[in-house]
Every structure is written in structure tokens, then in C-alpha cells.
Homo-oligomer: 120 residues x 2
């Protein structure tokens, strides 16, 4: 087994890598956000998913203000080492609209339709 | 229902938006790639997932050379309209390494471990 070093991943010009969060219980894709090398290290160290907020330019340990914590279950890397898949134990809503998943808008027959309601 | 217009999505400075492909049969996250507005239109029009290849700077209708076609089952947009979730019917391997999913590398106890073999 090769030791894992976050520096060996491929980041974009802003030093970020996309991270997909998937519900470990039912496989639902919950959200996509961004990480830098330090947020990856914090996530692996503490087991609480910590993103990098591009809008606030700061670490974003999910749930610190909302209570909607993501506990890390599995941490996966893709073949090109430029995308992450986080299998998580999600408390409550992953989405800031208080829906379980951010992907609640379906495009169907050329129109948009909302397929989920806020849960809390 | 609002009519869907790809121009209303949020693209990065290169005109691209990340698209996550998820297996409709078992919920497995298969890959993440990029789309531009025209590749979205082609995907919705023909029902065959068409990405934009950043390395080749060209449209990439998945399966044209490999046979590993992705038929579109559902097209979803996230809350910020800057990420897509494609539920797909995947023929064979989604990954260029001939694994079903690109996310075959697990980080566990500080080390990397390959968790899937090529399937064809």
C-alpha cells in the first residue's frame, strides 16, 4: 500500500479539487464542493468533512453553524487524481436550502421541475 | 414549470460546468467530467452523454471510440446551478482504466488501496 499524501493530487489553478459527497446509507449524491490540501488533511485527521469555501475564502467544516455535519465514512480518489468522492454520514440536510441533496432540480421534457422539499 | 435554458447555468472561466455521472441501476458514482453549454444541449437532445474534453479541446460523446456509451436517464442541476448530476445507463466501464467507476482508489489508515479490477 502506498502512503497517501494530499500533495500528490492534482489541483486546479486555485489549488482546489472538487469533492462529491455521497450518502453512505442510500447512495444519494448530496452535493459537490471544493477542497484544498489542508482541508483534505483536516478531513482525514478529524473525520468531519471540511471544505474550502470559495466565496468566503476560508475553511468550511460542514455543520459548524448549521449542525448539518458530514462524518467521513470513505475517502476515494479518481483515476486522474483530480476529483474526490466522499462517502459520508450526513446529519439532516446537506443543502443550504434545507433539502437533503443539492440536486433537487430535474430537467425533463425541456423544463425544470423541483423534486424535493426542505426537510428541516 | 420553467423552461430549461443551458445559458442560465453558472460556468467557470473556461465556460465549463462539472458533471457527475451516477449509475441509475445501483447508485454508484462512476466519474466526473466537464460540459459546456453546447455539450449539455447535445446530451439533452440525443440522450447520449456528451462531455467537453479539456485535454483534447473537443466534444467527447462518451462511447464513440470505446463503446462505453452513457445513456441519459435523468439530468439534474444543483442549488447553485454550478454542478450537474447525470443519472446514466452505463455500458461497460466508465473509466479509461476499464474499471466500472473512476473512484477505485480508497484512502484508508493513511494509505491508498485499489478496490476494483478492470472489467473488460
Amino acid at each position: 500500500m502506498a502512503e497517501f499524501d494530499p500533495a500528490t493530487l492534482t489541483y486546479n489553478e486555485a489549488g482546489l479539487i472538487p469533492a462529491i459527497a455521497q450518502d453512505h446509507a442510500n447512495g444519494e449524491v448530496l452535493m459537490m464542493a471544493w477542497m484544498n490540501a489542508e482541508s483534505i488533511a483536516r478531513t482525514l485527521d478529524g473525520g468531519i468533512v471540511t471544505y474550502w469555501s470559495r466565496s468566503r475564502q476560508s475553511f468550511w467544516r460542514k455543520g459548524d453553524t448549521s449542525g448539518h455535519v458530514q462524518r467521513l465514512v470513505e475517502f476515494r480518489i479518481d483515476c486522474d487524481r483530480d476529483c474526490l468522492l466522499l462517502i459520508v454520514d450526513q446529519t439532516g440536510a446537506a443543502c443550504h436550502t434545507h433539502r437533503r441533496s443539492c440536486f433537487y432540480t430535474l430537467v425533463e421534457d425541456g423544463a425544470e421541475r423541483i423534486t424535493a422539499d426542505p426537510i428541516d
